[in-house]
């Protein structure tokens, strides 16, 4: 496949007459086995190639994409992109494409994922269903694997190619009012331990009974890693240097300031072999270990190439993965640290309420447990929160060990006081 992608890059280099161009080629091959209510409901396999070319004539840009790679199609691609640029208006924010630079090393595709066969994936699903039968419950989820190879090349000499892989298996187990989910994902299928994942699912499932009614209020919460991933994953969307500088986000004038809780740090790492990453972005910004928040100080924000040039700084690619360093407090110890509280497994349907203040809303999902006097008491109904993530970090009371919760997220368990629940639902 590497030869095919390189050949496309050569073809574009030889035939594209634009002043400047950026080419992105992505080959993907996927197998997805979806199951619900103890049976496979969807089963999908196939590969695709997407070729995206942005061209520039005299500061005027135009782009095109196709998913065919024969010479005629590539000629059409170049012609369409070039004609679009020629007919366009000049872009005052055009920045010449990235030139040659060294490509950082990232952990690529894993053989075990690439060679995982459909029969084995169905076996994983069957084992998940057998577990559900044993618990007189139903299970729904997805077992999937993906392989991807990506090439970026520019007229100015940037050339990079990488591959990566993804394996994921998720299970939502449901019986009457009890409903909970566990998922696992990694670039390397070899790290997957089915029985461990099923064991975790069963433990979580068994901890939940028929939910008792619980009214919304400000209360201490233990946010488990998957909940934290959902909650802080939104920062990847909202933390942007230009948006902050132009006054649209809560981070305006906060760079270098102690804006988060002092115990809170957030980073993206390419050096961590557990975390999936890619060595460069589609606009050829190379990746590096980047601290976004360091001990509560807003240290960096993703910055695109235009804004970086305007400010005279280096561009910073977006958050490809997220790492929140943890501490050494166990969940059992957290239960003792506050008189009462809730344990949250996951959140769901998080949306921005107020972009300027950074306020979010969302629901709990997959089981909420009430605890008091150091012990878990019972499950409660799901609740709606309205909260501001950076303010939440100022209310951290304790942090657990950071663990891999998805292939792109390494998170701890957090104990946070006064989490703002504003509504409840009836399950």
């Amino acid at each position: 496949m590497k030869e095919i992608l390189s050949h496309i890059a050569e073809f574009v280099a030889q035939n594209c007459t634009a002043d400047d161009y950026t080419l992105n080629v992505e080959y993907s091959d996927s197998h997805e086995t979806r199951f619900a209510q103890n049976a496979i409901t969807q089963h999908i396999a196939g590969s695709n190639i997407n070729i995206y070319l942005e061209t520039v004539f005299a500061g005027k840009t135009g782009s095109a994409s196709i998913n065919q790679d024969d010479p005629e199609a590539l000629k059409r691609l170049i012609t369409t992109a070039e004609n679009t640029a020629k007919l366009n208006q000049e872009d005052p924010e055009y920045v010449p494409s990235q030139g040659f630079c060294d490509i950082p090393k990232c952990h690529g595709a894993a053989d075990a994922t690439m060679y995982l066969n459909p029969e084995k994936m169905v076996d994983i699903v069957k084992a998940s269903i057998a577990n559900a039968h044993a618990k007189s419950a139903s299970v729904s989820g997805m077992c999937e694997k993906h392989y991807q190879m990506h090439l970026t090349a520019t007229k100015n000499g940037f050339f990079g190619i990488y591959d990566n892989s993804y394996f994921g298996h998720s299970m939502t187990l449901k019986k009457d009012a009890v409903e909970t989910k566990v998922s696992y994902s990694s670039r390397d299928y070899a790290t997957f331990k089915l029985m461990d994942t099923i064991g975790k699912l069963n433990t979580q499932f068994d901890s939940l009974g028929k939910p008792q009614s619980f009214d919304p209020q400000k209360i201490a919460v233990i946010l488990r890693p998957s909940a934290l991933m959902d909650f802080f994953g939104f920062l990847a969307w909202t933390m942007n240097r230009r948006y902050a500088d132009e006054g649209f986000s809560p981070y305006t004038d906060q760079l270098g300031q102690s804006f988060f809780g002092k115990d809170f740090s957030l980073a993206s790492l390419i050096s961590d072999p557990d975390l999936s990453s890619t060595p460069f972005s589609h606009d050829a910004i190379t990746a590096k270990d980047t601290s976004w928040v360091k001990d509560g100080v807003l240290a960096n924000m993703p910055t695109d190439r235009y804004w970086a040039k305007k400010l005279g700084i280096e561009p910073l690619r977006g958050m490809r993965n997220l790492y929140i360093p943890g501490g050494d407090i166990s969940e059992a110890e957290m239960l003792q640290m506050v008189p009462k509280g809730l344990i949250i497994n996951r959140f769901w349907y998080i949306r921005t309420v107020d972009p300027k203040r950074g306020e979010l809303t969302g629901m709990t999902r997959d089981g909420v447990l009430y605890f008091e006097n150091g012990k878990v008491s019972h499950a409660v109904n799901n609740l709606r929160f309205n909260e501001i993530p950076h303010e939440v970090t100022r209310r951290i009371l304790a942090m657990g060990k950071s663990i891999l919760c998805e292939s792109d997220s390494k998170m701890p368990t957090l104990l946070v006081e006064d989490f703002n629940f504003v509504d409840k639902t009836d399950f």
Partner: protein, 480 residues
Amino acid sequence: MKYLDLALNEAEILGADYADIRIQKTTSQSIYLQNQSLKQTSNQVLDGYGIRIFKDGAWGFAHSNVYSAEAVQKTVKRAFEIAKLSATAKKGAGLCLAPERSYIASHKTPMSIDPFSVPLSEKVALMLEVNRILKSYEGIRQAVFYLIMNRDEKLFASTLGTRLELSNTFIDPIIVATAVTAEDSQSRTFDEGGRAIGWEWIESLDLTEKAKQIAQEALIKVKAETLGAEQRRSLILDPNHLGLTMHESVGHPTELDRVLGWEADFAGISFATPEKLGNYQYGSKIVNFVGDNTLPQGLATNGFDDDGVPGQKWHIIKDGILQEYGSTRDTAMEIGLGYSRGCNRATYYFDQPINRIPNLYLLPGKEPLTPGQLIADTEDGVYIQGRGSFSIDQHRINFQFGGDFFWEIKDGKLYRPLKKVLYKSCNPEFWNSCDAICDERYWRPFGVVNCGKGQPSQTARMTHGSAPARFRNIRVGGSQ
């Protein structure tokens, strides 16, 4: 197309119980303009085919972008092998497909001016002018115009004997003005959600006037007050806002695959379970929801769905009572329906079609009623225009919505503009609190072009519609 017959013959030789092939070419043009900078002017083509094989009560789906006899045969074989594997993990006898007849038909989105034939320079000139108008208002920090045009051309054939040629086009212009002060930043958006129509729609919209309106309203909004503490009030919701509310609180709960639990792991399930059909008071007696995949200019008006089932019109809620779901050939039989409502749609050729929301709308009130009369009849309430923050639980019961522009109503008049208004409610409280709907003169359609669902995720399109409606005794307040 020779590959249609080749695929189906191959599937029958292999022993498929049912098979179809969907050759789909998706062409789109997107232009993104931000503060006079053309961030993206792009023409995209995705071209390939997906083959579904139904064998022993289970599905297999394989796709390819390679057009050759060998590739088609290989893809059929792959889909068949996958179907056989799926059948080893089925429940009971597996799935059944609702009966359907064969069709030889075509459908094309009616339009006067093909949006792809309009010169790029004309589109960009309009966008730049709108952008310039927005930026001419002091205090508007960011002006965005995003224009997308999309065409799906499909050839569909199935072992039932169906042969379809479908071509569906839509346009979606979105304009955003963002005002910034030292204390706040607020946006106002023009977004009708897209329509299946030609460029003549854009010409009829008078977007330069719309630009002035949203720039002025963004400036009003950023300086507006907030509502303060939550309390129970009346809500008057405009059709654009209601489009999203009904999408989340009626459209998704009445997708039959959710009802059956097929989305339990990701998008969620539904409280609107089959035993409620025909007896559940989903809304007040004036609440009538219709699924209608024949709606002119509707984004889900495709002639046929990706099961080869024709577009239909039916009541989902009648006189407030839950009547029926949006269904597909495989979900319908799970509740013994015996026929599909034609809601199986895929986004791209490489997507296996899934149960989607049809065009779904709230019928207008039967008595003459204008928005002005509705406001005049409201003592204490909030009027919400446009779409804002939205979130709903995974059973589709509890929800919280914002909006795009707000007016406080006092003593039957628009009293003052507001910002950051939120309302919280749940099913069935919300729709049962609906006590007035304006008449058909004020009914308007609004599209949704980005309905995310499924694993792997797909983005579907459908149109909603309503006249302005009032909801009593809803919890309404300012954000935190």
